[in-house]
Structure formats: C-alpha cells, structure tokens
Amino acid sequence: MKVRFPLILCLLMGIIGMVAYYIPHRIVQNFDNELRNTALRIIFAFSLVLGVGSIIRHHWEKIKRKREFWEYSYVTLISLFLTAFIGLFGGIDGKGLIKMQIGKFSFDIHTIYVNMAIPLGATMFSLLAYFMASAAYRAFRARNFEAILLLIAAFIVMLASVPPVARLIPKLPYISEWILDVPNTAAKRGMLFGITLGVLSTSLKILLGIERGWLGGK
C-alpha cells in the first residue's frame, strides 16, 4: 500500500499526461487544461511547504546547536517570516488587509522585492563575472588546437558584445552571431539528442516504477 499505491498513481497520471497530447478532442483537452493549469498548480503550490519547512528546520537546528555562524540564521528566519507576513497581509500590491505604510514610508512586498531581493540577487550573480573570469584565467591554457578554438570562440563572442570593439571591427558582431548560430547550434543540437534520450528513458523508468528515488529508495 505504502509503495504500490503511489506507483500506480504515478503511472496513471503519466498515462493521462501522455494520452492528452495525442487526443485533440475538446473534452480531453479541457480536462487536461484544468488538470494542468489548476489542479496540479494547487498541489505544486503546497510543495513549497517542503522547501520552506526544510529551510526553517535547518536554521532552527543551527541556532539550537550553536553551529558556526549560527547568529546569521536569525537574519534568515526573521526576514523570511517578516517578508511572508508583509506579503500575506499587505497584499502583493500593498492593497491587502493591513496597510504596509508608516507615514510616507511604504514597505509593501513589491517595494521590498524591487529594492532588496532584486539588488541582492543581481549583485550576487554579477559577482560571478569576476569569479568566472578569474577561474578562466587560471584554467584556460592554449595547450592544444581544441583549447585554442575554445579560447578564440569565447573571445570573439565576448569582444563582439563590447560596443567600442564592435565599432572598431564592424565584422566582429557578424562573426560572433555566426559562431553562435552555426557551430554552436550544431554542437548543442548533437548533445540535445543525447540529453533527450536520457530524459525519455528517465521518464519511462519513473512511470514504470524502475526509478524509485522519489519513494525514498523503497
């Protein structure tokens, strides 16, 4: 019951997902649309419980056991609860149950997202520019012909995106575009065939109950 029922359910849902693609009849399509866009979205929304629950548990344990840098776990937990409170009660556009405003200072969820989450995320990812460049400097060596090709392709694509260089060598953006459109497409497409076969076999293994990692290895 604990293993067989979820496996049968998984297979049944897989057949529904597959069959709906091949039957263009209105009834089947409406059923599939409702299932995909409403029912599964509702179930999926609840899955956030697992993610947030595990974050709260992780940081709570860290504070309890006073592990290294445990003080910062308070920052995560307090900001998580505070943001969720502001968002849930203040509404997504600040028109919720409680007005998130003190005098002229507004702190609704949209303002927090634009002025805190976006700057933090964008800066975090922009740091990767530095780390990627420094890693590439250490790792890339023109040791053989293949490595030289990789370097040349990377340099052309990078330089073509710099306006002064592109103005200096007008043909460079076209060469960069050609590299992205032709050899890059050929390599990616070749790899995509292999990746797709992997996706297909994994999907079939899940549906047929061969791949049981999601059952906790049972």
Binding site: M13, G17, Y72, L80, I86, G87, M132, A153, V157, S161
Partner: protein, 207 residues
C-alpha cells in the same frame, strides 16, 4: 545623492554583496542570509496570491469548482512529511506531479527535441537558396553528426569514425567557448547594471 531611503537600502545591500570580493566578512554573510530569507518569504507570498487565491480560494468560496478541495487535500499531504508515522503519504502528491510531468514530457520532448531538431538539421532545397546559407546548413548537418558520433562509445574509434569523432570535439569546443563567452557577458551586463545603479541612482555621479 539620492534622498530615497529605499535607494540607500538597495545601495548598502549591493555594497554588502560586493564586499565578498575583498574576503568573506560579516557584512556579506548578513546580506547573504537576508537574501535567502527575503526570497523565500516572497515565494510564500507569490504562491499564495498568484496560485492559491485565484485558483482555489476564490472559486471555492464562491461555491464553484468544489472538486478543487480534493486537490487541496492532496497538496496538504505534503505536510505529512513532518509527521514520521504518516510521512509515507507525502508520496501521493509527489506521484501526482511527478507522474503527470514525466508522462506529459515524453511526447512533447520527442516532438520538440528530436523530430523538430532533426527536421531543422536535415538538408532541404530551401537551405540552398544562397551560398552563405548553404555552407552554414552543411556545417550544421556535419556538426550534428560529428557531435553525436563523438558521444558514440559502442565501438572502437577507427577509420572514418575516428576522424568524425575528432571533428565532433572541434564543434563542441567552439560551442562551449561561445557559451562561455555569452554567459560571461551576461554576468558583465548585470555588473554594469549594479555599477550604474550605484553611480547614477545612488550617488548621482553619472547621468
């Protein structure tokens, strides 16, 4: 210099993350933990206001689509993950989402990632309308075959197979190089965005 308090908050947080370039420090760790907290708090809000309220709470409270309560109950089974005696029930909502996702992926992946890609690779009369397109199409056709052969390990690489596999490496290297350059430039544009924010919106040094 800006007088908006939110611009100041955004600028201080930006500097906090940039401070990692010097070394790991308390200011960076504070910003990093704040980021995790805020994004998860925002995710809760987003799922509530954008999915649960319009798809479940609104229609059900108006007496419509009452069958959605069954799916809400199935979704609520995720909570059993935290009750050891009932934790196996978490497999039911996972089976719903995973099963449908895996089943729906099969025909769609075959269509988009195999049939459509093969159609775009095969040489047709329309590929030979001008010399440039013809050469590019032949290179793509040859490159796809060579790349596939590079990943073909079922037989020993001898003769033509060896040469084709080597050509595959050349295409893969060009592809990886282009992807690397493209990714670096995307990150650089983010960096330019952040620097523009600091110098223009916060300090007002540039216009």
């Amino acid at each position: 210099m800006s007088t908006d308090i939110w611009v100041w908050i955004a600028a201080i947080l930006t500097l906090g993350i940039f401070s990692f370039l010097y070394k790991d420090n308390p200011f960076y760790r504070f910003c990093e933990h704040l980021f995790v907290g805020i994004t998860n708090g925002y995710a809760i809000t987003f799922y509530w206001h954008r999915i649960l309220v319009p798809s479940l709470i609104k229609p059900v409270s108006q007496g419509e689509k009452l069958y959605l309560l069954i799916f809400a109950f199935i979704g609520a089974l995720y909570f059993t993950r935290f009750i050891p005696r009932l934790s196996w029930l978490v497999r039911i909502p996972i089976a719903f989402v995973l099963g449908y996702g895996a089943g729906a992926a099969i025909p769609r992946t075959i269509e988009t990632s195999i049939i459509e890609q093969a159609k775009a690779t095969i040489l047709q009369r329309s590929n030979f309308l001008n010399l440039f397109d013809a050469i590019s199409s032949i290179i793509i056709f040859f490159g796809v075959i060579a790349t596939i052969i590079y990943f073909f390990f079922s037989t020993e690489r001898k003769g033509i197979l060896k040469h084709l596999a080597y050509s595959g490496i050349i295409f893969i290297m060009l592809g990886f190089g282009a992807s690397f350059g493209y990714t670096v430039m995307a990150r650089i544009s983010l960096l330019i965005g952040r620097l523009t924010f600091l110098l223009r919106d916060w300090l007002g040094i540039i216009k």
